[in-house]
Symmetry: C2
């Protein structure tokens, strides 16, 4: 239902009707809609993880091109799973209810893909530094995808967005290498 109608289109009554039970029965499967959304998010993250892995599995891309491929794969995944991907970031827990551990853990796994090529490019950096750089790179690409797929402003055609992402990822890497030298 999130995939079809977006996070805001997920209603417990509709959901109950669709799976054929009373609305109250939903709460036997899940304590909350919060939990429901996080469980869906968990699956989405798993599929995203696979998509990113697949992106670098063909051929032997250089670290630089591996990072470009990962970024493009992230963009493509978001475009192809727009509502599910958005749900990952749109969803907010109530301020007093923290994220469960398993959900936090899910999210951490993503940086792994970026970390490896980065480590190859910057062998002199410490794991902490690499972690920070990985998060920065991810965040930058995430921002481009987020605003690029947003219909709110101008609709960017997907091929143009992919090209822009590739350009900027290469620029970031080249710039970081130049700074390190």
């Amino acid at each position: 239902m999130i995939a079809a109608r977006g996070l805001a289109g997920l209603k417990t009554r509709d959901l109950a009707r669709e799976i054929g039970c009373a609305n109250g029965a939903v709460y036997n499967l899940v304590t909350d809609v919060d939990e429901l959304v996080l469980r869906v998010g968990s699956r989405t993250l798993l599929r995203l993880d696979e998509a990113l892995s697949a992106a670098v599995s063909a051929g032997e891309p250089s670290p630089r091109e591996a990072l470009v491929r990962i970024a493009i794969a992230y963009c493509d995944f978001a475009a192809e799973n727009l509502q599910l991907w958005r749900a990952l970031f749109e969803h907010r827990m109530a301020a007093d209810k923290p994220l469960p551990d398993w959900s936090v853990n899910d999210q951490m796994q993503l940086f792994r893909h970026i970390y490896q090529p980065l480590a190859a490019l910057f062998p002199e950096r410490s794991p902490e530094e690499l972690g920070i750089t990985a998060r920065s790179l991810f965040s930058a690409v995430h921002g481009m995808v987020t605003l690029g797929l947003e219909q709110k402003l101008v609709a960017v055609p997907l091929p143009a967005l992919r090209k822009e992402i590739a350009t900027l990822v290469r620029a970031m890497i080249d710039g970081l290498i130049a700074q390190a030298a």
Copy 2:
């Protein structure tokens, strides 16, 4: 109320109590909560615009350093106006209700700040190309700020975030210049 309790903490009844009227009277000032949020967003964008202008007004920074200053100013503004800034991006209209023109117009103004230094750095690029690059740069920085200020994952200390942003903005610019050469 958005500033104090976040977008999700804005309730028409609380608002009516606070301004001293019946809950129905809110709809004499505004047709919707949507409109209310957009009007607040308009003010926020105006203040953000001022903050970005102020960032480059002191001294005569090079285009490269102007872009760094703008990015840092964006980060600082978001940190200091966290809830109001988040409301700009968290808010979604219903799918069938498009944004009013004045609101769309508001958002376009932001790229102006980035456009000027970029034009100085890349005089051979067309206005369209510059517009695209400006949006890419903005999106990348926006992503870093968004995920950096999110408490969801690891809390990043603000000084570290500022430093990371400066590093990556310089890297992006240097990388883009190297590509152009």
